[in-house]
């Protein structure tokens, strides 16, 4: 059945046009001026633009904070859900993953509306709160997945050998669940660092994140600067990805 390997050709061609070429174009546009000459000006402009730099720092800060909040709230939840003593119902698990299937803009808008009704001033606090809403399921799901498949005999063995429950948790359960934590962190950090629209909704346009700046430049036809900013984000994402390659396996297994 080996000649079937040629069946990958249409997809290879498709990917060269729609995946590889566009990324090369980001690189080319980032190093060109509006006339199409080579320049480093787009990159240097970013590093001398105090506004862009502080937005960039703020985006990283928000993304890291949000990832931490989701991890702190999500790990205990995943642990409880995966623990047969506390939870036997598949429906509770479904309730936690359900928001992943609903349009993120809709969820965010509903949250923002709720803040408005209760008279909460939109700002950094509501941004963090709303983002935790949006991304908590993405943290819980991969951790739950790995915890529920974990062989309970490891923890039992540790207990038999005299470890306290606290020790069992930190020395056995947590290390074994690390792959799930890493995918969860990826699935929360990557979209939060690159988000746009969500931050506008949750702060009433008061706080701008890096994604919004990229979008504004592209939409006002400053393609070269926009491409340079996208390239910088691509580098951040590349660095983050080096820490893990697990993200796709988790997302692929959602159904």
């Amino acid at each position: 059945m080996n000649k079937r390997s040629s069946w990958s050709l249409p997809y290879l061609i498709f990917m060269i046009i729609f995946v590889v070429l566009p990324l090369i174009l980001v690189l080319i546009y980032a190093f060109q001026d509006a006339q199409g000459h080579f320049t480093l000006e787009n990159i240097t402009r970013f590093f001398s633009d105090a506004d862009a730099l502080s937005t960039f720092a703020l985006s990283l800060e928000i993304a890291i904070l949000n990832t931490l909040i989701c991890l702190l709230l999500g790990y205990p939840a995943a642990w409880i859900l995966a623990n047969k003593k506390y939870n036997r119902s598949a429906v509770t698990v479904v309730l936690f993953i359900l928001p992943m299937w609903i349009n993120a803009l809709m969820r965010t808008l509903a949250t923002a509306e709720l803040f408005n009704v209760f008279g909460v001033t939109l700002g950094k606090g509501t941004l963090l709160f709303g983002m935790a809403y949006d991304y908590l399921p993405f943290m819980i799901y991969p951790i739950y997945n790995i915890l529920s498949r974990m062989d309970p005999s490891y923890a039992e063995a540790a207990e038999d050998l005299g470890a306290t429950p606290w020790k069992v948790f930190w020395k056995v359960t947590v290390p074994l669940s690390l792959p799930g934590v890493i995918s969860g962190v990826m699935m929360v950090f990557m979209p939060t660092v690159s988000t746009f629209a969500i931050s506008e909704f949750l702060t009433n346009n008061k706080i701008k994140l890096f994604g919004t700046i990229i979008q504004e430049n592209i939409n006002s036809s400053m393609w070269n600067y926009g491409a340079a900013l996208a390239l910088i984000m691509l580098i951040i994402i590349g660095i983050t990805t080096l820490f893990s390659n697990d993200r796709k396996s988790v997302e692929g297994g959602l159904i």
Binding site: S8, P10, L73, V91, T92, V94, P99, E113, Y133, I237
Partner: protein
């Protein structure tokens, strides 16, 4: 006691998680233009959603229609392209195989905004005017990798002798493909299709960058424009409620069935 705290924590998170959606659902039964201002029970918003009279409801209806058509076309094309690609990749040797899988992973790892900007630049570079076609192409780009990943496990778990046996028994390669391979791959193709369909429905960022200026609206871009204008179209409330309930019912049925079949196996 421990059990009580565990349960309480779970329910606390769920209540917080669902508060906005439940709030929207309650106010979908009120006619008030502003949320939080109860003006009495009414199903008018639901009626408006299905037979739009007001201008805002009509454009919302159009946006829903666009979203569904784009999702159906892109999911279908992704399913075919992804299944063919998976068969091809499965038959590739070491290095070529890892190159293909690496390329396949790029759109999955890339944040939406990078995919969106990169495809936008591609269409600008190739002088393709943006609209329906470019949005569908963009959606196929980020959906197909998920189909490939759903179909690949079916291929690796398959006993290759079954296919050979069909050939030995006199089936042409085409017949063996249709009667043996495709039925074996079908579950993977279907879950790939569902995944692609929901990814496409959910997408905002990529659509936003590739839809051009012809005024093409999907549900996400409609909501975005709506929120920027300040007022949320009231008909969105019943829509959100319906979407939410549909997904809830589907997921519960699916998972209860899965749990049952797992119990039967055990």
């Amino acid at each position: 006691m421990k059990k009580f705290f565990a349960k309480a924590y779970i329910w606390f998170l769920l209540i917080i998680l669902y508060a906005p959606i439940i709030f929207i659902a309650i106010f979908s039964f009120s006619e008030s233009r502003v949320l939080g201002n109860w003006t009495g029970f009414s199903t008018n918003l639901y009626a408006n959603l299905f037979s739009p009279q007001a201008a805002s409801a009509t454009s919302l209806f159009k946006a829903i229609y666009n979203t569904l058509i784009i999702a159906l076309i892109s999911a279908f094309v992704s399913m075919i392209l992804g299944a063919i690609a998976a068969i091809g990749i499965y038959n590739l040797r070491n290095r070529n195989k890892s190159i293909m899988l690496f390329l396949n992973n790029i759109p999955i790892i890339n944040p939406d905004i990078i995919t969106g900007v990169a495809l936008f630049l591609l269409f600008v570079f190739l002088h393709i005017s943006q609209g329906y076609t470019t949005v569908v192409l963009a959606h196929i780009t980020f959906c197909t990798p998920y189909v490939v990943l759903s179909v690949m496990p079916r291929l690796t778990q398959m006993n290759p002798n079954i296919y050979e046996a069909a050939l030995d028994l006199g089936a042409t390669p085409m017949q063996a493909l249709r009667k043996v391979l495709i039925p074996l791959l079908r579950p993977g193709m279907i879950s790939g299709f569902i995944l692609a369909f929901t990814m496409s429905l959910d997408d905002f960022v990529v659509t936003f960058f590739t839809r051009g200026t012809i005024g093409l609206e999907t549900l996400s871009t409609y909501i975005y424009a709506d929120a920027r204008k300040g007022g949320l179209t009231p008909e969105l409330r019943p829509l959100m409620t319906i979407i939410f309930l549909t997904i809830l019912i589907l997921l519960v049925i699916f998972n209860v069935r899965k749990a049952k079949s797992e119990k039967q196996l055990a």
